[in-house]
């Protein structure tokens, strides 16, 4: 591993997909700026990576990116430390599970602030210097949920639809420059997303989840190649293809079944749930659901200990033991 001087800034880096992406960058000798909400978890994650990859520099910045002006604060702190960001990874995000008319509005507002506003704001802050240098890469983390309605995770899905639309517009605008924007669309992934969203008991959370490692490795590989759209795992690819074929209402219906809670945690429920989706291919459970992170109860966000960050990497929460 050669010692490079390039640096990657990753938000939501203390766990899940963000941490695994950080690991990929570290493995290739890139320095890291790891950003997350909770200092304790962030330090722990940073120390682990520093031990694994002693040749690189690991910086940490703990702040709540869902707050007004937080992206600006982050940008200034990075500048203050004399660091140049060569790779920007907009990964921090979270979800909220439940019927919209009952779910937690404040949490959903914070979600829009993080998943949309901070996402846009950080892109706006780092794009000009990348354009001046005519170098730099931005990885925008969407979701398979970007491609279809997501009942019981309506706001989360909407924020991811935003990421898809915004990202693709940017890609076209940046054609002809050497600055690339890649869009990553993970399927349901095993992270603490589900815990934060309160969706631990859903069919989806208890089904075949992708691992954060495989999502990150696939994402990193595509990102470094400057790939426009990266959909990790076969399951994810099938879900995206399906979204092009089935009408929105059918997708929505199938997705809802995956988002429903299992009465007992019997696996039998999983199979039953997927019969609606006509285009289901291999695994019965997954196809309609892209939403990786719908959570069942809004209230669990703060209390669930594994979830300490408000912004887990999008993908599902660890199954509660």
């Amino acid at each position: 591993m050669e010692n490079k001087t390039s640096t990657a800034l990753i938000t939501g880096a203390s766990s899940g997909i963000g941490l695994e992406l950080a690991r990929c960058f570290a493995r290739d000798g890139h320095n890291l700026i790891m950003v997350a909400h909770y200092r304790g978890k962030l330090q722990e994650a940073a120390e682990k990576l520093h031990k694994e990859f002693p040749g690189i520099r690991v910086e940490t910045i703990a702040l709540d990116l869902s707050k007004d002006h937080a992206p600006e604060k982050l940008y200034k702190e990075v500048q203050h430390r004399g660091l140049q960001v060569d790779f920007l990874v907009n990964n921090a995000g979270f979800g909220e599970y439940g019927p919209f008319y009952k779910s937690d509005l404040q949490k959903e507002l914070a979600m829009i602030h993080l998943n949309v506003i901070a996402h846009v704001h950080l892109t706006k802050l780092y794009l000009p210097e990348m354009i001046s240098r005519n170098a730099g890469k931005i990885l925008q983390v969407g979701s398979v949920a970007s491609f279809m309605p997501a009942p019981l995770q309506s706001v989360y899905g909407a924020t991811k639809a935003f990421v898809l639309s915004f990202g693709e517009a940017l890609q076209e605008e940046l054609k002809g420059t050497k600055v690339t924007v890649s869009l990553l669309f993970p399927p349901a992934t095993d992270t603490n997303f589900f815990n934060v969203a309160g969706a631990q008991d859903t069919v989806l959370a208890n089904g075949n989840l992708a691992t954060a490692k495989e999502v990150a490795e696939s994402g990193y590989k595509g990102f470094m190649k400057g790939q426009a759209r990266i959909v990790p795992t076969l399951k994810g690819k099938i879900e995206v293809i399906q979204s092009n074929i089935l009408p929105d209402a059918a997708l929505a219906k199938a997705m809802k079944k995956q988002s429903e809670e299992i009465k007992s945690k019997k696996t039998a429920t999983k199979k039953a749930a997927t019969t609606e989706a006509p285009a289901t291919t291999s695994s019965e459970t997954e196809t309609p659901k892209k939403r990786t992170t719908k959570t069942a109860k809004a209230k669990t966000t703060e209390t669930a200990t594994p979830v300490t960050e408000t912004a887990p990497n999008k993908k599902g929460a660890k199954k509660t033991t």
């Binding site: 509005l105 892109t123 794009l127 639809a161």
Partner: protein, 267 residues
Amino acid sequence: MENNSGKTALITGASSGIGYELTKLFAKDGHNVVMVAHHDDKLQQAAQQIKTEFPLIRVETVSIDLSKDGSADRLYSIVQDRGIQIEYLVNNAGFGEKGQFLETDLDKEIAMIHLNTITVLTLTKRYLREMINRGSGRILQVSSVAAFLPHPLLAVYAGTKSFVKSFSESLQDEIKEHKNVTITVLCPPPTETNFFEVAHMENSKVVNSPQVQDADEVARGGYDGMMNGDARVLPTLVAKMYAAQGITLPDSINAAIVHSQLEDIKK
């Protein structure tokens, strides 16, 4: 037909454009209206016109900047305090900003995200709850054909409209069993309103093309669809073509096509 129906519609962005045309349609059918917009002078002028044309309905106005934090909840409280029950909610207020994302105004885009998504979400949350408890009500969410294909030079705007479409379609499935509560997504094509001026795109090719449709026709499609409980309205042939193109062609091709249409006409 103007006998008072006893029902009230709340319309945001009601002082001009599609919002104003929708207000007229509600008034014409005998529904009372609560007209909401940012600038009071324009709003009062518009309200006066409605009152004159439709004297049998009640016309309320609330001037408020819905791009500000907490504004949607303030609006909700104001309407509640006036003792008005809302049967029809029209989330129409919104704006865009044209230009390379590298160069566009961040503050304006953040305000846009607030108005086009946060306010829509908050008002929907407040009123949907009531409608479900009551067992009746209709919501019209104004999205855009921009939700169907990427819009370089209107990147944040198209993102917000994709948000509204996705959000609303998820809700439609969630409330399926409440037969008398409906959510309709209106997807206008480029329409002749002050949207283009606010977005600084008067010289864009598309704005100077026959693609631009009339606000009253777009409103008519939206109104009829809403009252019929339709899920989605693509008013005019142009809108249907945009959607068809969006669904059929790959996003990268659509992005290139839209990019060239939004660029200024060459003098």
